[in-house]
């Protein structure tokens, strides 16, 4: 929770503003309002919302900001937005850095927007709380995440019929790979390189299953699964199904490139160790 307020889940909201009338928003400058819209949209997009969800959230803010009409185009990493108020209009193009899926932030922002729509939050408070949400720390520490990813891939190994030795090796390999991926991401390395190096790490470590396990294939297959771009893939089809074709195709292409990176990393190790998958 952004504010130190004990009552979840809608605790982001300070009390005294609840009586401000939503019908008469003060005429703040249109460019400030557009800034706020772009900030909201960027936060949603960079934490893993699909294009339709971002557009719906922006439209939710129209009335509360005293804007007559919002036209937005949401791409996979860009938001184009024009707000119209009477005769005036203002346009901004924002490039959005993708930081990774963060369900907690998405959830907080959606609840905040719901309250904003009901008029329980002023635009100024909205801006303040958005900044707080943007700087929220991850719920789980890096070590917890590394262990969780290791366990998840170990479970996949078991689902693929691996024995206990393969399961343990997969867990270690995926955990090391998860750590390597975080380390590389922090250094802003190109995403394809991140995938390739992480896949190489995971499959090199998992390759030890050749000597220690009866089912080395399951370990090699499962250890790289942490790289499967699950949320981008689902967002890609949701975008395409809802008619956001270009955003969806961009996400699908990115996912395809990620799969290419996984296959390349795994393929190199398989060649080195001369395994049959």
């Amino acid at each position: 929770m952004p504010l130190a307020d004990p009552t979840p889940p809608s605790s982001t909201i300070p009390g005294p503003a609840a009586n401000s009338p939503p019908a008469t928003p003060e005429p703040a400058s249109l460019s400030d309002r557009v800034d706020l819209l772009v900030q909201t949209g960027s936060l949603l997009l960079q934490h893993g919302a699909d294009a339709g969800r971002v557009e719906a959230s922006l439209r939710q803010m129209e009335a509360g900001l005293g804007i007559d009409r919002i036209d937005a185009i949401v791409m996979s990493k860009t938001i184009l937005l024009t707000a119209t108020r009477q005769e005036a209009h203002h346009t901004r193009v924002a490039r959005v850095p993708i930081v990774g899926v963060n369900m907690n932030s998405l959830n907080e922002i959606e609840q905040l927007l719901g309250l904003f729509q009901q008029g329980q939050v002023t635009p100024e408070q909205l801006k303040r709380v958005l900044n707080q949400i943007a700087s929220l720390p991850h719920h789980y520490s890096r070590s917890v995440i590394v262990v969780a990813v290791g366990l998840a891939c170990a479970a996949f190994c078991r689902l693929f019929g691996g024995d206990w030795a393969a399961l343990a090796i997969t867990g270690v390999a995926a955990a090391i790979a998860a750590w390597v991926r975080m380390w590389l991401n922090q250094r802003q390395v190109n995403y394809f390189l991140v995938v390739l190096l992480t896949a190489l790490t995971a499959s090199l470590v998992a390759g030890s299953a050749l000597w220690l396990s009866q089912t080395p294939q399951s370990a090699l297959t499962a250890a790289v699964l942490l790289l499967v771009p699950g949320v981008p893939l689902i967002n890609a089809s949701v975008d395409i199904l809802r008619g956001h074709i270009s955003a969806g195709l961009a996400r699908a292409t990115t996912s395809l490139v990620v799969f290419l990176g996984i296959a390349l990393g795994l393929g190199i190790v398989i060649r080195l160790l001369q395994v049959q998958l």
């Binding site: 789980y140 078991r158 689902l159 499967v228 689902i234 967002n235 089809s237 799969f259």
Partner: protein
Amino acid sequence: MSGAELAVLLIQKGGWAAVATLGFAVLFNVPKYALPYCALIGALSYALRTALMTGGMGLVLATLGAALLIGALATILAQRFGVSGTLFAVGPAIPLIPGSYAYKAVMGMVMAANAPEMEPGGELLLAAFDNGLKATLTILFLSFGIALPGLVWSAFRRGGADD
């Protein structure tokens, strides 16, 4: 396969799927209170897909069934907690993604491209295409199945209460 054997298989698969779901839910920063629900949905949906496939259904349609279950449960929980259903749906969706098909497809294409000439039966290309088709349709049906219950619910509610 007898009923008892099937039950043991489903419980085992469901249990491991729950572990995988939890791991990815933590990676996606799902709040702690939602984690047990995610694990439960992950276990149920994976067990449902395994059951449907054991009953002779193909991967694509079995995944659609499992995805509809995820979508329905996530929509119910979303109403109860007043949050977006995605919170409960993202983790359980991951074990259902046919990752191995997808990269078998990509790997097959790389191998086919790397071969000096096409082999007589075109086996490599066919296998790559088959894997790619299964992966693509499974992912499409997965996301469609997850989204559908929420869409139906909001349409139904808008028609009823206008809010």
